[in-house]
């Protein structure tokens, strides 16, 4: 009976979890994956490693989420380097950023996410 109650509560919590601007506004540069996981209740849709075509020594960890915007969803990336959050946003935000390295991370991550 106790386990059934626990299971019900867990299922209820999981089913109600979303990733929205509430969580996005808590993100800070330099956060570790563990810290991000402490307030982002859902698992990423995809999680993968990339290295840049222009410099293979630069490696990044990418987590792709579905961001909830009311009743619609949009892809959203978080990028970590050496377990530290360096940039996050919609893929188009990576594409238009003034730093070419962020542009390249976005393009590489999008290509990897489509595999």
């Amino acid at each position: 009976m106790k386990y059934l109650l626990l299971l019900t509560i867990t299922l209820f919590t999981v089913s109600c979890s979303t990733f929205s601007y509430i969580e996005v506004n808590k993100l800070r540069k330099g956060m570790k994956v563990e810290e991000v996981n402490s307030f982002v209740a859902i698992s990423p849709k995809k999680s993968f490693e990339i290295s840049l075509p222009s410099d293979a020594s630069k490696k990044f960890s990418v987590r792709e989420y579905f961001l909830t915007l009311g009743t619609i969803y949009a892809d959203f990336y978080m990028v970590f380097q050496d377990d530290k959050l360096i940039y996050w946003g919609f893929p188009y935000e990576f594409n238009r950023f003034p730093d070419p390295m962020i542009n390249e991370i976005g393009a590489t991550a999008a290509a990897e996410a489509q595999k």
């Binding site: 009311g70 009743t71 619609i72 892809d75 188009y92 238009r96 950023f97 003034p98």
Partner: protein, 158 residues
């Protein structure tokens, strides 16, 4: 006669197709934009015609902006219509004979949108986003251009 029928059916099918096409841009479509794209490529990726275009010149450099409706959320809208039962002769009665409901509920999903701007420099895509994104841009050139850009944005009446 047969030819007229074909024309009529084709026109109806085309109208139906156009009415079913999305008329908003989604975030995932924005993800396909890249700096340096020309206007035709941007329109192809967004699959919607811009709602307006404007051009201006700053220090001899030609800029143009196009604005599109960006889907920011959706909501359900309900309307009610009387459940009339029409009788022969044209008179109408409340539909006790149908399902007993006096009102019929019609529900549809409506897109909520915000203006999304594409800024072109010399015909090539330089920056894109909602007004607030221009305002907080990390791009120094966009920051410098903002005072001029904001003169040309469309302020929504609602």
């Amino acid at each position: 006669m047969r030819k007229n029928l074909i024309v009529l059916v084709t026109t109806f099918a085309l109208l139906l197709l156009v009415s079913c096409m999305p008329n908003v841009v989604t975030h995932n479509q924005l993800n396909q934009l890249q700096k340096g794209m020309v206007q035709a490529d941007v329109q192809k990726k967004l699959d919607v015609d811009p709602e307006g275009k404007k051009s201006f010149t700053v220090e001899g450099i030609q800029y143009s902006i196009e604005y599109y409706p960006l889907q920011t959320a959706q909501k359900k809208e309900s309307t009610y219509r009387p459940n009339y039962l029409y009788k022969s002769g044209g008179s109408k009665n409340w539909a006790d004979a149908n399902d007993g409901k006096r009102w019929i509920k019609d529900e549809k999903t409506v897109d909520l949108t915000e203006d999304m701007y594409c800024l072109y420099q010399g015909g090539k895509l330089r920056y894109w986003g909602m007004v607030g994104e221009f305002a907080k841009s990390e791009d120094l050139q966009i920051q410098a251009l903002n005072s001029e850009f904001f003169k040309y944005i469309r302020v929504k009446a609602d």
